[in-house]
Symmetry: C2
Amino acid sequence: MRDTVLSDILLREIDRESSVPLVRQVYEIIRQLILSGTLRAGTRLPASRGLARELGLSRNTVIFAFEHLQSEGYVVSATGSGTFVSDTVPDLPASVAPVTEALQPLDPPHLTLSRRGTEVVRNAQASSTQWGAFVAGVPDVSLFPHDIWVRLLKRRWKQPDPNLLTYAHGAGYYPLRRALSEHLRIARAVRSTPDQIIITNGIHQSISLLANLLADSGQVAWIENPAYWGARTVLKAAGLSTVAIDVDAEGMAPSECHLRTPPQLIFVTPSHQYPLGTVMSLARRRMLLEYARVQRNWIVEDDYDSEFRFDGRPLASLQGLDTHDRVIYLGTFSKTLFPGLRMGYMVLPKSLSAHFAIGLSDMYREGRLIDQAVLADFMEEGHYAAHIRRVRVHYARRQTLLRDAIHETFGTDWPISTREAGLHLVMHLPDGTDDVGIVLAARSLNISVRPLSRYYASGPGRSGLLFGYASVPDDQIRTQFKRLVQVIVPALEHVARSDSFR
Amino acid sequence: MRDTVLSDILLREIDRESSVPLVRQVYEIIRQLILSGTLRAGTRLPASRGLARELGLSRNTVIFAFEHLQSEGYVVSATGSGTFVSDTVPDLPASVAPVTEALQPLDPPHLTLSRRGTEVVRNAQASSTQWGAFVAGVPDVSLFPHDIWVRLLKRRWKQPDPNLLTYAHGAGYYPLRRALSEHLRIARAVRSTPDQIIITNGIHQSISLLANLLADSGQVAWIENPAYWGARTVLKAAGLSTVAIDVDAEGMAPSECHLRTPPQLIFVTPSHQYPLGTVMSLARRRMLLEYARVQRNWIVEDDYDSEFRFDGRPLASLQGLDTHDRVIYLGTFSKTLFPGLRMGYMVLPKSLSAHFAIGLSDMYREGRLIDQAVLADFMEEGHYAAHIRRVRVHYARRQTLLRDAIHETFGTDWPISTREAGLHLVMHLPDGTDDVGIVLAARSLNISVRPLSRYYASGPGRSGLLFGYASVPDDQIRTQFKRLVQVIVPALEHVARSDSFR
């Protein structure tokens, strides 16, 4: 098939009136041509620039469609020589990059994977870039006091207790749970005894554990709309149906209709809505707690980054308001220390904690007690609280620097998420701005931002960009943002009314 | 209800002709009395010794029934003052043990947990003892060269690379995968490129990942009968049905009838059947590979401890025989280094590896690249192979010491599992021996053995005891075994014919 034939088919089949995004249409048409054999293995696809011109589409639309086809293994890109329809499994030389990515062309996932596996791979959201400007959700790991950590590691490893090197059984290393219980009481007004705390290897494992132990396959979990993609992925993998509930200025806002069909689990980020940054109002908190008391469903409070509050008094956790043991509180050390530590925790109602300890041991066969002991030492010696105090100052300053840079370019009225907390902010974009296109174009500048619209489970999401500022050195924030402006401005020109924000 | 009333009810309701074990009957009757409210919260249960006498049962039967009730939260045991029917959530003082166990009385799991969660908690198998004589599946962590490990830790932590402290994306640290690929080729005849290797945090996560990506809820996995409990737990949590296929002298032996309804996944331990220790014959290996080639199902080879082969040449992996990319090879560092490391790996067919890297990132959000880097250094500097060679000599000697002790007491004809490999052996017991009773009695001597019958998914399993000898110092093997003989011998006296082994 020659290039002109492909562009003819695309011109004929693309529906510009459709509510299906153009990117999706281009992707789907080419995919079908490959699956039907019309485009055969080895066929070279036309260059994105020429094809975009012929179709009257933005080049980013074509590039993104190609990238999507590539990520699913339908096409392979060979640097310098173009994009080709995949053969099944050619033998490419092994990569030697330290953290390698999928370099081999893949069978399309539906040919080899289960239905749910295909869905996981097709909807994959984890970014391949996890360090640099402006990776969201990553703290400045270079500020981590590694000298103290090494000292504590050496001490524990000098004559290591065999009990810390074997399999763990139960909820985790007790002194760590004791230190956490104390810390959470002071920092987050979480009410717990150490027995209520379970150490996990992060939020994903915490969600997986509670979804398995508290809900059966087919039961419903409410999640916020928009929400962290990982919560949805893990809940779906556990067989749950997720119902996305829109968020308003007061937090998750279930309608009357929603309230009439109670879910089994309610997932919220009350302290700092992810990704919008709003704080759940006291009235909404009380409403949800009362609802859960009556319906006996479980509220899961994901308090992922609320140690980083820059203005005013820290807001108490939802768990601390709960008088009927309906809240499961999730936390992580990924934001306060470093993500690679893989250490998180959950605070459970007393009626659940022993069951969860058994479930954790049997389902996940945990260990890493020596790492937990080092972390307990780190907390008990005061380094944890000190580190949080220290980095909070940096993050507050970096947020301000980024806000200033945005305001300087786009005016002081430009809508940005609330300023009180966290590791990231959202720069909103006018309705209809192609935020995915901006993100892809930014990637070629080696800048990582994430598209707000992708955090919505359903319906047309708001357009915007997530910036992680925490890990970007002060002197790079303004320069990196100015580089990014090059790809934001052209995208705004395609928008009908550049002052219409939702 | 007075003690005599409870024993009257039990005497009336226990059916000595039933195929339901007496332990289970005692447990079930008391549980029903609690659920119905006949036995009320706070009621003290009679002492096990007196109750056993009145019922004409062994005391161990009563103790185990009570322990089972306690593990599920129906009763609470207060040291020195007896066993009581639980209240909902009394406020007990927090334990200060380093690795605490469930100390609080629980709501019965079915009142709070999901159906599947209740099943996980009720069938929990992970032992609370993970160190000491004769804990199965645990290597001698005190032989681990911690001085080398600390040196490598220090080097990596001196000026840590931020890329190693953030979230990992993909299959794991490339040099570790390269070192593993090379090691597995030499040690296990596994054929792979580094791209086919994915680093997980252990066998449980490996099974969870592949069950999600390769099978949908409701599909069937064949497992061996008997088998490792953890594989069953994880497969069930992923919504799969497990069909237990009996093992004969050549390994997993599916019947004609089984073969006519192909499963999605086939789980085997060909190098060293867990727990029986047999090696799968070449004929059976070829049969399974041919079956998988034709049916296009996946064979999962769990090669958990086959680095420890004491006699003759190491047996090649099943993966190495596979010419049609149907085998997924699972391994772990838990047996070769230490369980608390939580590091395992899988070797995937090329058609799957990139999909699995995406699935791992999105479902489990992994990290720990700095630990993976330390482990890569450990392997690249030759310490891994050297450590395995060194401990292999210890484990071979310890197995011989244990065999000699068994033979000395029970005669040289007493059936013991094959001697070539591994970290554990099985001492078989005559048909009908209460191996669970022996295990519980051993616990009071602070000796951990595990009952072979519990590894069978269905049907009356063979009776026997699993001994982990790897972690027991040479000079304790004989003395600890002699102590254990005190509880084995009385159990044998209850068996009709003490020479009938299956």
